[in-house]
Structures are given as C-alpha cells and as structure tokens.
C-alpha cells in the first residue's frame, strides 16, 4: 500500500531529519486491512532511527503528538482503529510551545 508519511514539529529528527516519506506498507499477516495500530508499529520499526520514546509511549504516540489522517485528527476517525487506505497521507506532528 502506497502511503505518504510526514513528520513535523521536531519528530523528523527521529527519522534522519527527513520530513516526507513515500513508503510502501504491506498488510500485516492475517489482517484484511491496515489500521493505525499496524502503521504505528511499522513506523517504529522502519522509520524511527533514534529515541523511539520521543515517538511512542505504550501502544500509542507519546503525549503532545498529533496524528492526522488525510488532514483530519485521528481522534475523529477512531484513533488506533482508523483504517488506512491506498494513497492516504498520515502526518505525525509534535505540538510546539515556542514563541
């Protein structure tokens, strides 16, 4: 499945400072669709090169990270249960506090 994954607000530093990743993610064994739970685990394994605790906490993203699926907060689509489809754009962004 072709997806675009974007990292911002400093999270790109965990993926070698690359903000936009065009990736190909296979369906997990035995699953008939890909959800955000699968995708988080895929990202953790394949893209996060350092300090994973800055990205994941428990089975979800750490506090202060917003997840957007096609420009929409994943809280509105079922969070970890959100189903991901071909060509979806998923953004992980750390909230900023500076000024």
């Amino acid at each position: 499945m072709q997806l675009t994954l974007e990292f911002g607000g400093g999270l790109e530093l965990l993926c070698e400072s690359v903000k936009i990743h065009k990736v190909n993610v296979d369906l997990p064994d035995g699953a008939d669709n890909l959800n955000m739970k699968h995708l988080l685990s895929w990202v953790r394994t394949n893209l996060i090169k350092e300090r994973p605790e800055m990205f994941i906490k428990g089975d979800t993203v750490r506090p202060g990270v917003l997840v957007l699926v096609n420009d929409c907060d994943w809280e509105l689509s079922g969070q970890l249960d959100t189903t991901i489809e071909e060509k979806d754009v998923v953004v992980f962004i750390s909230t900023l506090h500076g000024g």
Partner: protein, 285 residues
C-alpha cells in the same frame, strides 16, 4: 457615509477608511473592533506583530503582559522592540510602539509574570485572549483560565522553521487540554531561546494570530476553531487540518469537570509540566 451613525468620529473614519470601504468588513465590523478588548500574553516573537496589527487596526483596548526585559538577542525576531529599549521591560517598549502607530486606542501595561495568583483577575478584564508565550506551563494555565472565564483563546506557537495556530475554547470547540490532556515529556519542549528560530516564522504566526483575533472581535469570517494551521517555512507549505472538538472527558472543560477557580489557583503548572513558567532574563544558553 454612515460611519457617524455608528459612533465613529471623522478622524476614525479617515484612519480606518480602507477597512470601512471593504464590503466584507465595513462600518459594523470596525465598530465592533473599536468596542472590543484584547489581552496579548507575551511581547516576544509572536506578540510583536500581533500587537502592532491589533493596535493599528483599531482594537479599542489592548492589554500587554510580560515580565521580561528587551535583550539584543531578541531583536532578530521581536520587531516591536527597538535597540533604545534594550534593558527595559518589554511591556513598556511594546506599549510605546503601539501608541506610536495608534494614539487613539487604550493600552494597558501589565509588567509582571502571569501566574495562577493574578491570571483570573487580569484575563477577566478582556474579551479575547492571545497566547503568545513560549512554554508548556503557561499554555496550560492560560487555556484553563480561559475555560473558567469563558473567553476565546487565540493560540500561536513557533519554533525553528515551523509554526502552529488555532483558536481554543470558542463556540463549543476544544480547549488546550482536550487536545493535550497529558503534558509532553520535557525533552519535547524546546523554546526559541534554547533551540533557535528563524525570526520571520513567529512573524507569520503572530500576524495570523492578529487576524484570528480581529475576526473574533468583529464577528466576520470563519474562526480557526476545531481547525489547526501548520506552517513549514523551509518548504513554504501550509496545511489547515481538522482537529477534534470539545472532549466530554476533558478534566477542565468536560461534562463532569470539577475544575473551578479555587482548583485553578492551587494548581501547580510547573509541577504538572515539569517545566518552569518563566525563565529569568539571565537564563541564557
């Protein structure tokens, strides 16, 4: 010209004529703006353009609160301050600049840090609150205070080459805690003074904060509530995304919240976020 009927003086009609001419703004919106009051918290990178544009466009009463003094290393982004004010309180410097562009509006100077002990009393004096601060405890404290007082909050942030903007606690929309119930780890909380920022990035976000404030005060357009603007300066990309609404489970604005003014006054925001509310002016890299 029906400006006079709306209580605009001939001088005001002349000064604001380019906004009065505008069909989607006009006399009514200008008149609302002139009757409104806005508090800008922080006279730094975000507050600089926000304050200048709010003063210039004719907000009736503009409050400025900041405890800090102007330093040379602020000058690359805090364009409201001039070299002549280095070492002086930012509030004095910002107020002087606002008066020099518009001597006809009222400007309140609060030369102090915002704390749980003074926040309710200060914020209650204004219609709209602008968060132009630079640290997590301030952001939680200001949002909680806005919920308790029922004030809309125009929240901007900038760091490095990125900026973010949204309106909290407006018209049934979420508060800061609805989005961020748990504070981030301290290692994810860089401030511009620690990690750097390209000066014009808070410039863009601060202008957009002024815009959202003007829209709220004059009741024109669609405010950025339940939406967030994400700005990436390096790639010149802007995203406006849909974010969650108010959470029924929110400990501050939710249905069963027991968070009242007394809880607010006793809440330790520094302990909650593990981050200091104010860094003294000498706390440099």
């Amino acid at each position: 010209e029906h400006g006079l009927e709306h209580g605009l003086s001939p001088d005001q009609i002349y000064r604001y004529s380019r906004q009065l001419l505008l069909p989607s703004f006009g006399v009514e919106a200008q008149s609302s703006l002139l009757k409104s009051s806005v508090l800008v918290i922080g006279a730094g990178g975000l507050g600089s353009p926000a304050l200048l544009y709010l003063a210039a466009c004719g907000v009736g009463r503009l409050g400025i609160i900041d405890h800090d003094v102007v330093e040379l290393n602020n000058m690359h982004r805090q364009i409201i301050h001039t070299e002549a004010f280095i070492g002086h309180p930012k509030v004095k410097s910002a107020a002087a600049a606002c008066r020099s562009v518009n001597s006809t509006i009222k400007i309140d100077e609060h030369v102090e840090a915002l704390r749980t002990s003074n926040a309710l009393e200060i914020l209650s004096q204004y219609d709209i609150i602008v968060d132009a601060t630079d640290n997590p405890p301030s952001r939680y404290m200001i949002s909680d205070c806005c919920v308790l007082l029922g004030k809309p909050l125009v929240s901007g942030a900038a760091l490095g080459m990125e900026g973010q903007l949204t309106v909290y606690n407006h018209n049934g929309g979420p508060c800061y805690r609805c989005l961020f119930p748990t504070p981030p780890p301290t290692t994810a909380c860089q401030r511009c003074s620690d990690s750097g920022v390209l000066g014009v990035v808070p410039g863009v976000i601060g202008c957009l904060q002024a815009l959202e404030t003007i829209k709220l005060a004059s009741m024109v357009g669609e405010p950025l509530s339940e939406r967030m603007l994400l700005f990436d300066a390096l790639s010149a990309r802007v995203r406006v995304v849909k974010i969650r609404g108010r959470s029924a489970q929110c400990v501050v604005c939710g249905d069963n919240s027991s968070f009242k003014k007394q809880q607010f006054k006793n809440f330790d925001y520094e302990d909650f976020t593990q981050f200091p509310l104010t860094a003294g002016p000498l706390n440099l890299l």
